[in-house]
Every structure is written in structure tokens, then in C-alpha cells.
Symmetry: C2
Amino acid sequence: MAIKTLKDGLVNELRDMLSAENQIVKALPKMIKNTGSDELRQALQDHLDETREQAERVKGALNILGGSERAKACAGMKGIIEEGDEIMKDASDDTLDALIIAAAQKVEHYEIASYGTAIAWAELLGETDVVNLLTESLNEEKAADEKLTEIARSANVEATEAA
Amino acid sequence: MAIKTLKDGLVNELRDMLSAENQIVKALPKMIKNTGSDELRQALQDHLDETREQAERVKGALNILGGSERAKACAGMKGIIEEGDEIMKDASDDTLDALIIAAAQKVEHYEIASYGTAIAWAELLGETDVVNLLTESLNEEKAADEKLTEIARSANVEATEAA
């Protein structure tokens, strides 16, 4: 689609985000199944529930903007998830949690960048309802990233002790 | 490769980062060529020079760790760059700079997540020289991201006025 205006850019970005969120909903259960840490399992499960809501918020934002609610295949998230799948195959039991966290933090940072851009554009366009919806998701992504950093401390120590 | 220890994980992550940095070195010239903003052009050019140094630092870190200096294809960065290429094709003259910045910030955030993980692991492994090398790169990535946010303000306003 031709992106003639910033509003077109925002709709395009949100359709990409909808694909990203849908891909994450599919990818998280495998991470949840593979982890040996109750704390990490719970954090990923909570984030799976949030991710489903985030996808709904993106649809809500597209609806407000009158854009297509059709997801547009997000190649960035596809690559990040592929990498995570590969690393889970290569990991030993001792390093698996540390590697799952690393993969999940790449996912979070992709989303932090994308929501940051989308919010800046929506602000300029005076789309306050869209700003509010997306800010809620951005705050959740940042909190999820911080929670993962916190859990990483114990997971990394475990992986170091195996070295 | 099997990732049995956190050190294996760190080597694996750095080989991924080496591929990511190499891909960015190839992708930035197209962004530099396409932008109509002198300020953005200069910022991307400066970051291209930094990126070449960052690739050397990653090689230096791999050398310290005794790991292979061979890059390992980074699927995440490949997807992010593909998306940026696609968006540059779809953009109008008015929205191009805003979209280039959005794509470049996704690149930066991937790297911020990756260096963050690698530094945490290197700290735990007591690899102080590796920590120092990578922290220099992480600080550059964060500064590049902030610079892009700053330039985005004027680029976005230009794109809004075209709406």
C-alpha cells in the first residue's frame, strides 16, 4: 500500500503490530512449555494474556482510524521468533531459561520501538484515543521487559553454575 | 551448535550480533541515499561509522572468549531490514523520513536488547574486558536511538503537514 500521509504510516505500522502480536500469541506457549522455572512460566503466561489484549487494542486503534483491521505480515517479528525457536533447540537444560529470556526480551524491544513510533505519530495526528490505547500496551511491554531482567538474574546464575 | 554453558550462549549471541552489525553496515547506505533531510543523513552516516566499529568490538569480544569469529546469520535483523526496505518503497516523499526513522529505531532496539543480554552474561562470567567493549557499543546504540527520536520530531511534523 502507498504511504502518502502520516496517518497511512500509522495504519501500516498498526497492521504490522497486529501481525506481531498474533505471532507472539502463537510463539509464547512453546516458551511456557519449555521453561523449567515456575517464576518464568508464570511471567510468560501473564504476558500471553496481556498480548491477547494488546492485539485487541491494536484492532481498536485501527477501527478508530478507519483503517483495515487486516494484519500485514510482520517480517521483523517472524525473524525474531525464528531465532528463539532455533535457540531453544540448541540449549541445554541449564542454559534454556537464560536463552528463553534473551529471546523474549528481543520480542519486547521490537514492540517497545514499534509502539513508541506509533504513539508519537498518533499524538501528532491528535488521535488521543489511539494514544491512550497504545500507551497502555507500551507500559505493559516495558514492565514485561523489566520483569524478565529481574528473573534473568537467577536464571543466569543457574546457567553460570553449570559452566 | 549446542549451548551447554552460559559462555556458549554468550559466544552464540555475539556471533548473531556480528551478523546483525554486518547486515546494518549493508543496509544503512540505502537509507542514507533515500533521506531528504541533511540532519537525518548525517546521523545515519555517523551511525554507519559507529556500526563498523561495533562489528570490530564484537570480533574483539569473540577473540577474548576464544569463540569462532564467524558470524551466524541473524534472522531477527534480516526481518527488520526487509521491513525497512519494503516501507521505503511504499513511502511518499513527505512520509519517507518519518518511516526511515521508525525502521532505524527498530534496528536500534534489537541491538539494545541483544547487547543488554550479552553484557549481563559477560558480567556473570567475570569477563570484564568483554563487558567494557560491549558497554561502549550499547551506549552508542542508546544515543543513536535518542538522536533519532529527536530528529523524528521535525520529520513527523513535516509528514503531518502533508496529510
